[in-house]
Symmetry: none
Subunit: 213 residues, 4 copies
């Protein structure tokens, strides 16, 4: 890891190794405890910095949390955007690529992935509002990007394309949640990627039969 954080807060001219410690400590403590229960004490202890320094860089716990969420969401999206082939006109191909990419990112940046998962489930009223606003914008944007080049003609004339796409989307979400649940305890590098992919392909097969000409 490491590579994640080093670029995050270059605006604060801070010793990169120390930034790394702070970011990783925060990721760890926030993902394990959620926003409210995560204690700045735990973060500074883990990061081996003083109380004051944390609040020198981030004006509040909320600021730290939201900054991290934002920076990491952006980083995550960036990584996805730059490697997905957006010219592809088959929605299943695009979604399959994204699944693969999340896989890769999860391998390389497990803390980031854990943290972002926690962020998007956060319910604490102090931050959930802001998080949700960003989440919606992000989803809307990726949807636009995702379907910009989709070839609608591949769908049967008899089906409602919008609704079909919703079903496809929910199916991919469902598979994602299910795998996360299923492999929660499995270390990243022992995940059987092939097995997971072959299951996804099975679902893709069913959905194509249902909705494609």
């Amino acid at each position: 890891m490491g590579g994640v954080s080093k670029l995050l807060f270059k605006s604060l001219n801070i010793d990169p190794e120390k930034e790394d410690r702070i970011v990783n400590a925060a990721l760890k403590v926030f993902s394990q405890n959620g926003y409210q229960k995560a204690s700045t004490n735990a973060i500074v202890k883990e990061a081996k910095i003083s109380k004051g320094l944390l609040f020198h860089y981030f004006k509040s716990k909320k600021d730290l949390y939201l900054s991290l969420s934002e920076q990491l969401s952006d980083l995550f999206l960036e990584k996805i955007y730059e490697r997905v082939d957006w010219e592809e006109s088959d929605i299943f191909c695009v979604l399959r690529q994204i699944v693969l990419l999340k896989f890769e990112l999860f391998k390389v940046y497990p803390e980031m992935t854990d943290f972002l998962n926690a962020v998007y489930q956060e319910t604490d009223s102090e931050v959930a509002g802001e998080i949700n606003r960003k989440k919606e914008k992000l989803i809307a944007e990726s949807f636009r990007k995702l379907f910009a080049n989709i070839d609608v003609n591949k769908f049967k004339e008899s089906v409602d394309v919008q609704k079909s796409i919703k079903i496809i989307h929910w199916t991919f979400e469902g598979m994602g949640r299910r795998n996360q649940e299923r492999y929660k305890e499995v270390p990243v590098d022992q995940l059987d990627k092939e097995e997971i992919l072959s299951e996804i392909d099975a679902y893709i097969h069913i959905l194509k039969q249902s909705f494609y000409k």
Copy 2:
């Protein structure tokens, strides 16, 4: 509401009217704040009882939270079980019935519904584990019940029935989440039930076309 709580903790033989106050206060405070941020002070104030009494009935905040979750989950399931026609062999009919029933329950017991929704999104490490274990058991059980009488012969021979059922399930989940999001701010009694049902029926139509003979 009232009707919900009166039967919940008969083992403690509390004055039913007081139990009612406690349960409603706890539901309100927990759903508005989440487990961690909810304060026992706020609960006793709302319930107009003393601090000591709360801890006389429930040995800790965690106990109160988990007891409530358990009792209300059970109550919820009970209500569903007793009114769904489990002899029905068409999975869509059963799911449609459940959607309708949730609707009814939401109207009659809005606090309970809010609370249970909050419970199943709770991420606090102190309770999430226990909650998740129960949730899984509950889902597994209802799945068994749900599919006990399903007539598999209605499905096309060419499709994988298990996977099709998953897709159906995820689609219903997806619709549920979407509606919740969409009608978050709308008071229960102003929801346009017909509109929602007609959308559900449209999805059922698509899924039937895809998976049924």
Copy 3:
């Protein structure tokens, strides 16, 4: 002292001896340090109670400070009101009585007096506003009371009575401040009351010559 505090917060049914400790600790710490610098830590340590208890009785440091100010101002006024002969029509007699009374109160309740002096000099923006509002009301009220029975006919026709009264008032204030300054370090019971009074009488003599017929 003790006698001061025992009646202050009877609404909180608190052990009177403990209330006494809290009130005296707060008076001491607040008068020695001013509002801002006074630390609740110092107060609870001095009062030998736990941190939590202070905030059980008073919802904030500000609440504690303002409650004390209010209760003690009232107590102070009460003591003055009940012992000054308000039927007296000579303004100098009334003012002389008040000076004497302050003297007595200062002897009996030195902490209270110190505290109230500190309160009415407080400049901290968090409390000064509220304090000033009360101070003005209090001054207005005592002025009304003070001059209700004053016989204006005692004044020379040639002088502006309102302005004369102002001068008298400022002179008494000035003497008060001066004596406070002068005897700051002198223990209460060693103050030479006769000396102070004879000086006051000298001033009264001058003012009478100036303004009375």
Copy 4:
């Protein structure tokens, strides 16, 4: 303003424009918050200098505060001294001149005046002692100067001159405090100088009648 500060700390040979920024920032922050609550962070931010630089010039917050008080008190006195006609033998003429001058200084240097007012009301134990010692010295000195040329023969033989002068002094102080209170919210340039002066003259008239032959 500007003009005030440029000469204050030449011993430190700072860039005058920077000194200006520091002095004005400190005046602003100290007068708005009092000694204790004023934060050096706020000062350096307002002055657009670094934390370290402030502590390079002033060895502590206390040093900064006391230096400013001292320099500005001196400056204030200097301005008064150089423009009052100390040959004048009528005490009322001299006092009237001083009132007018304070008026002028308040117009030209509002921050300085605010700051000095705040300084002489400061109660914080860390600085109040030192401030008071200076204040007393200053008052004693100005008294000496003030009464050096006063013609005692103007007073009636029958009155105690020392005490009369005290009354005069307290009356001027009282008027000052009252006007400050009364015109607290009024911008400097909208003060009705004539009105204030005519009131002062009315008091002077009364006092002359009382004490002068």
